[in-house]
C-alpha cells in the first residue's frame, strides 16, 4: 500500500509509492523502446488496461471493446489505491496515512498519434466532459478531498506512454499549493470583497501586454510573476469557482479552442515542447466559491532552465512574460 507522509516542518504531504519501489537501476538505464503495435492505450488492446470506468462509444455500448472515441481506465500502476478505509497514524513525531485515493488515465483519442493540436475541437471538448464526469463521480466518495487533473506531454514532462492521455488523482488531502492559493485568494476577498482572479483578468485586459488570446468565454495570459518561461494560464472570463460545474457544455468547446491554440503556438514558437498542464479548481469541501476561480496552468518544459529552483521553491525566469506574450501572440499559425 502506498503511503502519504507529511513533512513535519512545512506540512507538505508526499506520496511514497512503496509498491513501485523504484530501484537505482531504474534511474540509470534507458527504458526499453516501446514495442510497435503494443500500445496498451490503442483500440484492440482494451484487455491490457484495467476495466474502464467511463467511455464515449458512439456505436457500441459494450464496455472494454474497440469502437470508442474516449476511455477512462484506472492507472495500471496507481500512485494511490482505491480500496480500504483511510487510516491516519503517527510514527514518532511524524504523521502518515495510507495511500487511499484514485488514479485514473483518460485516453483522449483512439488514434495513437493524436494530440490536442491535431484533434477536432469537438473531440477536445469530449476530453473536458470526461474530466467533469469523472470528477463528479469521484467527488461522491467522501474519503477524497481533492481531485487533481493534469497532463504530461512528452517524456521530459513525465509521460511514460506516447499515446495521448491525461490523468486524474483523487486525494485524501488538499495539496499544499492549492491550500495556499485558496488562502491567498480568501484573504484578498475578505479585504476587497472581490475575486482576485477576476481583478487580474480585468487588469490584464486593460494592460494588454500579457494577454495572448481570448474568445467569448476564456482568456489566456502570461502570469505577471511567471515562474517558467512561456508559462500560460487559461481562465474563464466570468467568475467560475469549479471546473466541474461548468454546465453549459459549449463552454468546454471554448476552452478547447483556446487551449489548442496556445499549444499550437507553443509548437511553432518553441518547436513542439514537452509540457504539463494542471487544472486548478476549488476543493469541493470549501464552503463557497466566491473567492476562488478555476483555471488551467500550462508549463512548457524547457528543461535547460531548470535549476536549484525545484529544491527551494524560488524561481528565476529568464524570459519576461511580456516578451513571451509577444512571441505567442504574433506567431502565425
Amino acid at each position: 500500500m502506498p503511503e502519504l507522509r507529511k513533512d513535519p516542518i512545512t506540512d507538505r504531504w508526499v506520496i511514497i509509492s512503496t509498491e513501485r519501489g523504484k530501484r537505482p537501476v531504474f534511474f540509470i538505464e534507458e527504458p526499453p523502446p516501446p514495442k510497435v503495435g503494443m500500445c496498451p492505450l490503442c483500440p484492440g488492446n482494451e484487455n491490457m488496461t484495467p476495466p474502464e470506468v467511463y467511455a464515449i462509444r458512439p456505436d457500441s455500448p459494450k464496455p472494454n471493446t474497440p469502437n470508442w472515441s474516449l476511455r477512462v481506465v484506472p492507472n495500471k500502476f496507481p500512485a494511490l489505491r482505491i480500496e480500504g478505509e483511510l487510516n491516519k497514524e503517527g510514527e514518532g513525531l511524524y504523521d502518515k496515512m495510507n495511500g487511499v485515493g484514485a488514479h485514473e488515465v483518460v485516453i483522449e483519442s483512439p488514434s495513437h498519434g493524436a494530440t490536442f493540436t491535431t484533434m477536432t475541437l469537438p473531440d477536445v471538448q469530449q476530453v473536458f466532459i470526461a474530466y467533469r464526469e469523472r470528477i463528479l463521480d469521484l467527488t461522491k466518495d467522501t474519503r477524497f478531498k481533492y481531485i487533481m487533473v493534469f497532463k504530461n506531454h512528452g517524456s521530459i514532462a513525465g509521460a511514460s506512454l506516447d499515446h495521448s492521455h491525461s490523468q486524474l488523482i483523487a486525494l485524501p488531502i488538499v495539496p499544499k499549493r492549492v491550500l495556499e492559493e485558496i488562502k491567498g485568494s480568501f484573504a484578498y476577498y475578505r479585504y476587497k470583497d472581490r475575486c482576485i482572479f477576476c481583478d487580474i483578468i480585468a487588469q490584464e485586459r486593460d494592460d494588454k501586454v500579457r494577454t495572448i488570446i481570448e474568445n467569448d468565454l476564456f482568456i489566456a495570459i502570461s502570469p505577471y510573476a511567471s515562474r517558467f518561461p512561456f508559462e500560460v494560464w487559461v481562465l474563464p472570463k466570468n467568475h467560475e469557482p469549479y471546473f466541474e460545474k461548468h454546465d453549459r457544455e459549449d463552454s468546454y468547446f471554448g476552452l478547447g479552442e483556446i487551449l489548442s491554440l496556445i499549444l499550437k503556438k507553443y509548437e511553432k514558437v518553441l518547436n513542439y515542447p514537452p509540457y504539463n498542464f494542471i487544472i486548478h479548481s476549488t476543493p469541493h469541501g470549501e464552503k463557497d466559491g466566491e473567492y476562488y476561480h478555476w483555471h488551467i496552468e500550462i508549463i512548457p518544459r524547457l528543461t535547460k532552465m531548470a535549476g536549484f529552483e525545484w529544491g527551494t521553491g524560488f524561481f528565476i525566469n529568464p524570459t519576461p512574460p511580456e516578451e513571451a506574450t509577444a512571441y505567442l501572440k504574433e506567431v502565425s499559425l
Copy 2:
C-alpha cells in the same frame, strides 16, 4: 535591471531576468560545445571573469592572477544586480521591486575536472570557509534579507559550466520556502519548547532505518517525507541555527567528510548523477536561533521521474526513503 515580482495569490516572489531576456531559440537549439582551453573559471583566464571578491592564494597575494586554490567572483550574467537602492513599487494590483542583490560564483578548485568527490577534504573544507566568509560580508549590506548558497552539478541540474563551482545569491526578500520552514519550526518550538530538527535527529538515530551515515558532528539522513528519490539531508548533530556562525573550522572539515561520502555513494549507486544541493540557514533578520537548525539538502536529479510535481508542489516519490537509505548505506566505496 532584473525585477522581483510577487505572485499576488500565493505571495511567492520570482526573479524576472529582463536583461537576459531569453528568446525562444535559446530553448530550442543545443548550446555550442564548450571551447577546449577556454574555460573562464580555469587558472590563467582570470580576466574572463569579473574581478574577484574573495580568494585563497597560498603563495601570491596579487588578486586576479593564477596560483589560487579557490576564487569567488561576481556572476558575469547575474540574476540580480548589486548596484542601486531597493525600490518597491505597485503595478495595479501587482507588487514588484527592482532586482537588487548579489550573485556570486565560488570556483571551488583550480583543477578543471575536480569534484567534491575527488578533492581532498581540506580543499572541500576551504569551500565551506569561502561560503562563510562571503555570507558574513554580504550580511553587512542591509538591503539583503537572505543569502542562499547552492550548487548545480551537471547540465541537467542547471550547471552551465563544467568547471566545478557553486553559487551565492543575496536576496532582498526571504524566499517563501525558507519562510515556511521558519514558520513551521517556530510553531513546533512554541508548542514543545524544542527544535524540531533536533527532535528529528533524535528519532532518526533511534529508528536507524533512514540514517545513512554520521560522524562526530554531522548526520546524513533520508528525510521521512522525501520529495525525491535518494534525497538526503545533512545536519549538524548539535543545535546550530546559522551555517555561517560555525566558528570551529574543523566542523567544516567534518561537514566536507560527510558530504563527499554521500556524493561518492551517489556516484556508485546512481552512476554519477547530476545533483543540486542547497544550504538552508536561519535568515539573519530572525530574532533568535532557538527554533531553526541549518542543514544541507541534496537532491540527485533523476529527471525521468519529474512530472506534474513541479507545477503543483505535490510530489510522488517512487523510492521509499528507507530503501534509498539501505542502498546508500550498504554500497562499498
